[in-house]
Subunit: 541 residues, 2 copies
Amino acid sequence: MKILIKHLFVYGLLFIIHHTVNAQSTVEQWGRFELTLKHKPNGNAFTDVNLKATFTSKDTAYTVAGFYDGNDTFIVRFMPSKTGVWKYVTQSNIAALNNKKGQLECIKATGNNHGIVQVSDVYHFKYADGKRYYPLGTTSYAWTHMPNEVQEMTLRTLKNTGFNKIRMGVFPKNYDLVKEEPTLYPYVIKEIKKDSTGKEIKVWDYSTFNPSFFQHLEKRIDNLHDLGIQADLIIFHPYDKGRWGFDEMPMEANLHYIQYLTARLSSFQNIWWSLANEYDYVKSKTDADWLTLTKAVIKNDPYRHLCSIHGSTAKYFDYWRPEFTHVSVQDEAPVMNWGAASIARNIYNKPVIYDEVGYEGNLKHRWGRYSGEEMSHLIWMGIIGGTYVTHGESYMFKDLRDTIFWAKGGELKGTSWKRVGFLRKILEETDGGLEPADMSRDAKTTTTGKGVYIVYLGNEINNKWLFNLPHKNANFEKRPVKGNRYKVEIIDTWDMTIKVVPTTFELSEVNDYRFYDKDMKQVRIPLKPYLALRITEIPKL
Amino acid sequence: MKILIKHLFVYGLLFIIHHTVNAQSTVEQWGRFELTLKHKPNGNAFTDVNLKATFTSKDTAYTVAGFYDGNDTFIVRFMPSKTGVWKYVTQSNIAALNNKKGQLECIKATGNNHGIVQVSDVYHFKYADGKRYYPLGTTSYAWTHMPNEVQEMTLRTLKNTGFNKIRMGVFPKNYDLVKEEPTLYPYVIKEIKKDSTGKEIKVWDYSTFNPSFFQHLEKRIDNLHDLGIQADLIIFHPYDKGRWGFDEMPMEANLHYIQYLTARLSSFQNIWWSLANEYDYVKSKTDADWLTLTKAVIKNDPYRHLCSIHGSTAKYFDYWRPEFTHVSVQDEAPVMNWGAASIARNIYNKPVIYDEVGYEGNLKHRWGRYSGEEMSHLIWMGIIGGTYVTHGESYMFKDLRDTIFWAKGGELKGTSWKRVGFLRKILEETDGGLEPADMSRDAKTTTTGKGVYIVYLGNEINNKWLFNLPHKNANFEKRPVKGNRYKVEIIDTWDMTIKVVPTTFELSEVNDYRFYDKDMKQVRIPLKPYLALRITEIPKL
């Protein structure tokens, strides 16, 4: 038996160091420590071998599951959250894998390593190190199942965007316009049957995973990590339609799959769990099943990565359950109408991500033919409601072999993706999550609570804007007062320009719930849609 | 000891029949049976005497609490839900009240007795006998605490409106513009203290209720019943501000109050429980307290009347809890914006009543100065989202002694109340609850699922409407098909007119998710806001 320790992720670099078990090893905070144990198993190592390890620091202990990676290799992965020495010891029903001890030193994170993303300030997100994270993601359900050159193209594409999240499925997709057969399958084939029409049907051995499939998925998640992108990983989806049957496996197989997936991936810093896309279209599972599966994910993820579930249009799961860290919902009405995005937020008291409000594209389907302007506008409509909206693109220009980013990745052909990058820059410049300043009364004004406002004018066209701010300042204690002075910038969300208004504004008394400039000054704005205003308090001398 | 049986409510009539215990008595289904037992108690009958009775029919049994009504009188009330003979037997820790037996015959409901209102079809309501109930209520928080002539005026006013629900508090109200001292208090005064400023402070004996207070409340609830109006009874509210202290009684007193209130009122056919108005402004109670209080109400209400809780603007309680039959929320954004009303409905899968979106009136407060048109429009905006909206009026014309319907009742001075009656007539003509036909995509078209559509055009002004219907028909199985023919009526929701369009329309093929008339016919409409269209399928010959 050989024992290997790999530790990965010192950002951009990949160290593979071979040690004996008791050797000291260093890994960055929220990085990935990997203990590899070689052992030739008898029987089915995926079902017959239990392996876990307990990692103990001065004041914390984590017990994490290991997994069989094929090729007589057993692996335990761990993501240390605190600096200092962590000791570990394995437990297994196989003597050769049991009671293996060692330690690692967790060192401070460096560079772009900010830790896992978590909920912050009820409605928003931060990395574990406190840096704010504003989810501005896109969608490519089956990109990891495309030919390798398309996958590489997808990564090159993403590198040049501002996206920091991508929704993607574990399983391949069989749907209109997406018919590609994957090169790797998650399971070993037990037999190939033919149905009455002579069509081949693969019968899977659900007890025997195909490690190559998962190794490939992991490589892609690491690739995304290198680009600063969170992998919002869709565990189940309905886009199978009898082709592979991964949407209708027996419950025991579902739970085994979750156990294996989470053992492999929980230590990945940039993973989010999405139990399903359009869960309600997966006809083989009930709401109770979904809850069982969700609980299984959480039980096996000691780090408690972000976790949600996604339904078809306007289908809201029981997001108030503590298992769900945030709302990941498909619904366009909340962002197509002023004042509507905040409602779900007010109900759940959790972050809301509208993870599908339609796609910029040229499809026949109404969900797949927004203009770039509309897609960009809907994302801003979410932001101005104190929520977040995920981008998507579904252009189909040539033939069925054309990549269509929505499912296959490849190149982006639209225009809204660039505006998402511009929005991200603006959000990252603000110090705080944006909160609707005067809930249910003013649908256009958000505040950081600390003197910065973003006002979004949307599809309204005016030549001036009367300077005014609400008296309310969301739920922040400090409200604006008479005499406060502000700088105003005009943001063209479409042309991606920011112009400073060459005058300052000073608050008069509160008048009918609002403040106006003491001279009732107006801001001259261009006669164009999709403008926003950034209003920043000028510190008193 | 004397034993009396009263049975009330043979609609409009009030029978008081004195019987010995074992006498047969008849009462209508969902009517109120009352067993009165005379006994001179030792000590405090409100706290020391337990009294309940079990009513048993062929296949059902209810155990209901009795209560002390003062004047050596103990009462047990019961609302039989099924026709036939019900036998009862009392249980008490007082021998004189224990093991009293008798029976009653429950006869079929007659006239306007349709039973209690319950949830139906997920998002809507029906009376127990199956008749649909469309909640179109108004609000008068403290009308039962005004001088008697104002209360009588309120009842005369309500009689001439279409309102079928009223939100009203048990306790008196102390708030801007509502300062009246009630003539009755729920408790006996223990002592009167003076605070440091010399102001008198009443100290209540929370263990000793004042039966007259509750008898008066009951009389008013019965008066409402005679008018076909549901009493949405607010059990707690924050509008006290140290004047009486009913918003900050000890938890034990709160629970005793609920026990007493529900023992008295659960048998009232037209009662709804509203745990609070603006619960979050009641600073003495936590969310956990509210849940405890809600559970206490339900435990003591064997009939399970409708039950909810109401918060301040955009404050949504945990309405998904099974204790709450429906959502009773204060929020104006959902009805001020197209497509927004349905969001809460989709989330909770329960009926949503926007029980406060502001008031028609002339107050300075922004919540109290809508025009009649705006109030009426907001109510229609709720209806078109598959939800319901409660009316309110807050005109203040003369001086502080002027009645202001919102709190005091009296006369209605506005214009929207009449339109609510008109709307009720339209809803009662439809056979079904109105469901958004194409959720999240078409915010203006509702369907009964059975060939009747209501399209609301709101504040848009056009001179024609291209006849079109969505292909989707909410979640109803039967979608419209090519060749279907329809009658169209133009409803002027403000002028309260309904005009039939003198031509019929026939569906062509589905085209981009919609049906159009085969000749692309348009409906000529007047250049006015607040129009609706009623589109009714013409049966095939």
